[in-house]
């Protein structure tokens, strides 16, 4: 990297030298100013510079591209991700043609048609055929790109398959919280932002029986490989955005408006560790919508497991009610029996007692606050 700095410094020094030398030329020419004419000096030099920058630019862009390529994201780990990657490089390939063509023509013409004394420019005000050509060709290319992009976009944003693993991810200042539908019914319970407190971080509504076996995790998310995963995305306070770079997943988390994104991961964390040769490799979830001071470090680990490991992991997780049995108080009386199943035996009795003494409705509503 010091070489690069040295290189830039060199460019700077050379250009400074050029400036000084040119300045001296000017100072000389000031002395022999004549009449009304403004003669723009340095035409040859500037013309030549266009060619120098054209050639230099072509070399540096090619070199830097080849140099930087190793750090472009490794091959995507999701099915749609590989598709958008292909589309990206396909589009970039097409766009490189006008990029080179236009810059070449601009720089080359600037050099070629630089001012020559006694020369006259060609009076060439319009040509409808040419105008038509460069209206129609871009239009056709655009149509092609729109079509491929639209196909990919509508597939990616289509409804998630019914067998998709549903996981909720909630953004808050400054971390993510994952919530799973649980071991038994695999359905996420309802939520309400007014139920949020220090323990119940995502506002699980315990009056919904689906929520009894829900469990949350504030540091890592596990997903199974090879089948659709549907992320239900929420935010608690301000805008956040779920970004899983390797999965090519990005979707904003909006307070008051749940969003979603589904994808099929097809490489487990272990696969990627083997592929990248990095035993510490981990998928990461980041935030890409500015959300305050900790925006740059809203990290969550993402672990892609094979099906068996994933099932095992899910079954080992403590449900929310197991972790915080005191919330049993918020379960409506008629569902208590059902909820007891998810509460550790030793904690269940006092919790049930306390709910009985706090006289049902009033206690529940006060804890709603």
């Amino acid at each position: 990297m010091y070489i690069i700095i040295a290189l830039v410094a060199l460019v700077f020094i050379v250009l400074t030298g050029v400036v000084i030398s040119r300045l001296q030329g000017v100072l000389k020419s000031i002395n022999k100013t004549d009449s009304d004419e403004v003669v723009t000096t340095g035409n040859k030099f500037n013309g030549a510079m266009f060619i120098v920058v054209l050639v230099g630019g072509a070399i540096s862009i090619t070199w830097s591209y080849l140099h930087a390529r190793e750090f472009f994201l490794p091959e995507a780990s999701s099915i749609h991700g590989r598709r958008t990657d292909d589309l990206f490089w396909f589009s970039m390939g097409i766009l490189t043609i006008p990029f080179i063509l236009v810059n070449f023509l601009v720089f080359f013409f600037a050099w070629k048609y630089q001012h020559k004394k006694g020369h006259r420019a060609t009076f060439y005000p319009d040509n409808h055929k040419l105008e038509l050509i460069w209206t129609i060709i871009p239009a056709i290319v655009m149509a092609l790109l729109v079509f491929t992009g639209w196909k990919a976009w509508s597939d990616i944003t289509s409804e998630a398959p019914r067998d998709a693993e549903v996981i909720e991810i909630t953004g808050k200042q400054f971390n993510w919280i994952a919530r799973y539908g649980g071991v038994d019914n695999n359905k996420l319970g309802d939520y309400n932002y007014k139920l949020i407190d220090a323990q119940n971080e995502v506002g699980i509504d315990l009056s919904d029986e689906n929520s009894f076996d829900d469990f949350t995790n504030p540091s890592e998310m596990h997903i199974p490989v090879g089948r659709p995963v549907l992320l239900k995305i929420r935010a608690r306070d301000v805008l956040h955005s779920v970004f899983i770079p390797h999965m090519r997943v990005k979707m904003d988390a909006v307070p008051g408006m749940p969003t979603k994104f589904w994808f099929v991961p097809d490489k487990t964390t272990a696969d990627m560790r083997a592929e990248t040769g990095n035993p510490k490799f981990d998928y990461e979830i980041a935030c890409t919508e500015v959300c305050g001071q900790g925006h740059f470090s809203m990290k969550m680990r993402l672990i892609v497991d094979d099906e068996a490991t994933y099932k095992k992991w899910v079954s080992e997780q403590a449900t929310f009610l197991q972790t915080y049995p005191e919330y049993l108080a918020k379960v409506p009386e008629n569902l208590k029996a059902k909820a007891m199943k998810y509460v550790p035996a030793e904690a269940a009795t006092p919790a049930a007692d306390s709910s009985a003494t706090s006289a049902g409705g009033a206690g529940a509503s006060s804890s709603l606050r």
């Binding site: 930087a68 589309l87 236009v102 001012h115 992009g149 008051g256 510490k280």
Partner: protein, 627 residues
């Protein structure tokens, strides 16, 4: 109605007539001045000062990003408590810097500084008018801008720091003071400043439109207007339609912040408290914001393209290629600008079908843009190009506009935007196509019209050196930034050490920062050249670039009223450069066809007959004299 108004202004002018021959006081002449030329210079100088502040901010956060280990204690005298004792930049202040850099550059430099300067300066001079339709409103426009500037500047010194939610100030972050220190007083001042700024833009815009439509001189039909004027007119229309929408979004945000409404707020739990607001939508703000925000891109860019058209034609000594196609493409871009805003919102959870529609509309913009690019190239073709600094910057603009515009085709594709949204790819894209390209338009305009503004010439060699350093520097900054973006680096990150996927490209980020500092330093050449030449530059001749447009027929330093005696009539378009048969390689717009029989085209000979009619018209200059 208009006749009566005309009479009234006539009386008004008659009253002023005597008045102006007395020596004007300093305040009237330079401060509360109604003369469009002085107002233009006020805009320009204010814009330059803001640019210095805005670009300095970018250098500070580039040091943070590219040289994260550096000790910034030396900035303590300026930034005080924002630099920790260990010499580190405060993360909250980093966000404030990013936010203010965006706000300042987009609104105060490239909207006010570019469009404000050149619309004011060139519209009356190029269409042949004594001044703007309403000098008073024009003055108000500047002073509202000044007030907005003062408030925004004051917000930089707040203890909690200025606004810090990104220049797009998305709520709820910007609506909740408890969410971020920058969302407190800093945001209040930001909103107040922007509200005043919008008032300023509307006062200016109405004036530009009215002046172009009503005050054109004899013979200056719409198809003889220079492309600069077309671009200013279209820009003003864009601003007039879109700025009020920003105003409404700002107003609703103020309501949400101070009066307990819930336009943008719903289901929020923050700092241990569930807020009572329900039913609002943060997405609504984004729709309203980008309904301005996207046209704003063209409000910034179109004047630059207009200036470039004029400068490229003049210095290629060729007519601009496809004059009508240029106007049509500007109109097309302006129209499309209003129906593509949601391409900033592909991944906000907006209905995916809307995403498809906006992707389609967005990619259509590439077509008129391509037409413009190719027309510039054809204008260069077989020209006789003089590399004045203005010309160099115009050529540079074409290159930047195309290079940066092409990546827009990637980002406009919603499927590809999923990965690239809010990464450095976006930052690189819009800095090239809108930031740098428009800044180049600003430079081109300053170099080209400096002689008309100050009656002196800027130093050509310094200008050329400034161009090459800036041009190379810009590419050195933003090409590598695309790579960083493709690697997935998110924008507005204080540092890249928290993630494995951003734990690379240290050298690339350092390179970008060094190149940014280099480019920043190069701007001092311009600053010196500009301020030195105002006082000590070589005296300008009448028409230094041998240009055809009307401003060069006015006195070298035009007085109030621009032309002494009658305003010249216009008989031809402004692009008769290198016409076959003509003696000189340019024929100014005020030369009748009857005087140039040797170079007239057949249909132009027929126009000789109506010259008498044009000459006898006198619709906006009742006195036939300057005052």
């Amino acid at each position: 109605m208009s006749a009566i108004e005309g009479l009234e202004t006539a009386h008004h002018h008659a009253d002023e007539h005597d008045h102006h021959h007395e020596a004007q006081s300093f305040w009237q002449k330079y401060v509360f001045c109604e003369d469009h030329k002085v107002i233009a210079k006020q805009y320009l100088i204010t814009g330059i000062l803001w640019a210095v502040i805005g670009i300095t901010m970018s250098v500070i956060f580039r040091i943070q990003l590219g040289l994260p280990d550096s000790n910034l204690s030396w900035l303590k005298p300026i930034l005080g408590g924002w630099i920790s004792d260990a010499g580190k930049l405060d993360p909250n202040f980093y966000l404030a810097l990013v936010t203010m850099h965006g706000t300042i550059m987009v609104f105060f430099v490239l909207t006010a500084g570019l469009s404000g300067t050149f619309s004011n300066f060139l519209i009356p001079l190029q269409i042949g008018a004594r001044d703007m339709a309403s000098g008073f409103m024009n003055m108000l426009s500047y002073w509202f801008f000044f007030l907005a500037s003062v408030i925004m500047f004051a917000s930089l010194f707040l203890q909690q720091g200025p606004a810090a939610g990104g220049w797009v100030i998305y709520p709820p972050l910007s609506a909740l003071p408890q969410a971020h220190p920058g969302s407190g007083m800093g945001m209040t001042l930001w909103l107040a400043s922007m509200a005043l700024f919008i008032v300023s833009q509307l006062l200016g815009g109405i004036n530009y439109i009215t002046t172009v439509i009503n005050l054109r001189t004899r013979g200056m039909s719409f198809d003889r207007l220079p492309l600069t004027i077309w671009s200013f007119l279209i820009t003003a229309v864009l601003g007039l339609i879109s700025f009020p929408v920003l105003f409404s979004s700002v107003l609703l945000l103020i309501f949400d912040r101070h009066f307990g409404t819930s336009f943008y707020l719903s289901d929020i739990y923050i700092n241990g408290e569930a807020l009572p607001n329900v039913g609002g939508s943060p997405i609504l703000f984004q729709h309203l914001f980008w309904f301005l925000g996207h046209p704003e891109v063209y409000i910034v860019l179109l004047p630059a393209l207009g200036i470039t058209s004029e400068v490229i034609a003049t210095n290629s000594r060729k007519p601009i290629f496809g004059y009508r196609a240029m106007i049509a493409s500007m109109l097309g871009i302006a129209f499309l600008a209003f129906i593509v805003w949601a391409h900033h919102m592909f991944v906000t959870g907006m209905n995916p079908f809307l995403g498809s529609v906006f992707m389609f509309l967005t990619l259509i913009i590439a077509v008129p843009s391509a037409v413009k690019g190719f027309n510039y190239i054809t204008t260069l073709w077989k020209g006789n190009i003089v590399f004045t600094p203005g010309m160099l910057f115009s050529i540079g603009l074409v290159s930047l506009f195309v290079s940066g515009g092409l990546t827009g085709i990637i980002l406009g594709n919603s499927a590809l935007d999923i990965q690239l949204h809010d990464t450095y790819f976006v930052v690189a894209h819009f800095h090239l196509v809108m930031g740098a390209a428009s800044a180049f338009g600003l430079f081109a305009g300053v170099y080209h019209w400096f002689p008309k503004m100050f009656g002196r010439m800027m130093n050509t060699s310094l200008g050329q050196a400034h161009f090459w350093m800036t041009f190379i520097g810009i590419y050195l900054v933003f090409i590598p930034m695309h790579y960083v973006g493709i690697a997935g680096f998110p924008r507005r990150y204080y540092q890249f050490t928290s993630y494995d996927f951003t734990h690379k490209f240290m050298d690339m980020n350092m390179f970008i920062s060094v190149a940014a500092i280099f480019t920043f330093l190069a701007q001092f050449i311009f600053l010196w050249n500009f301020f030195y030449s105002i006082f000590k530059g070589k005296k300008s001749p009448q028409n230094p670039w041998h240009s055809n447009t009307l401003e060069w027929t006015a006195p070298i330093i035009p007085g109030h009223g621009n032309w002494e005696g009658e305003i010249p009539a216009v008989y031809r378009w402004s692009y008769d450069y290198s016409k076959p048969g003509a003696k000189e390689d340019f024929i100014p717009q005020n030369i009748p066809y009857s005087q140039t029989p040797e170079s007239n085209l057949p249909h132009e000979n027929e126009l000789i007959a109506i010259e008498k009619v044009i000459e006898s018209q006198n619709f906006n200059d009742q006195f036939k004299t300057h005052h």
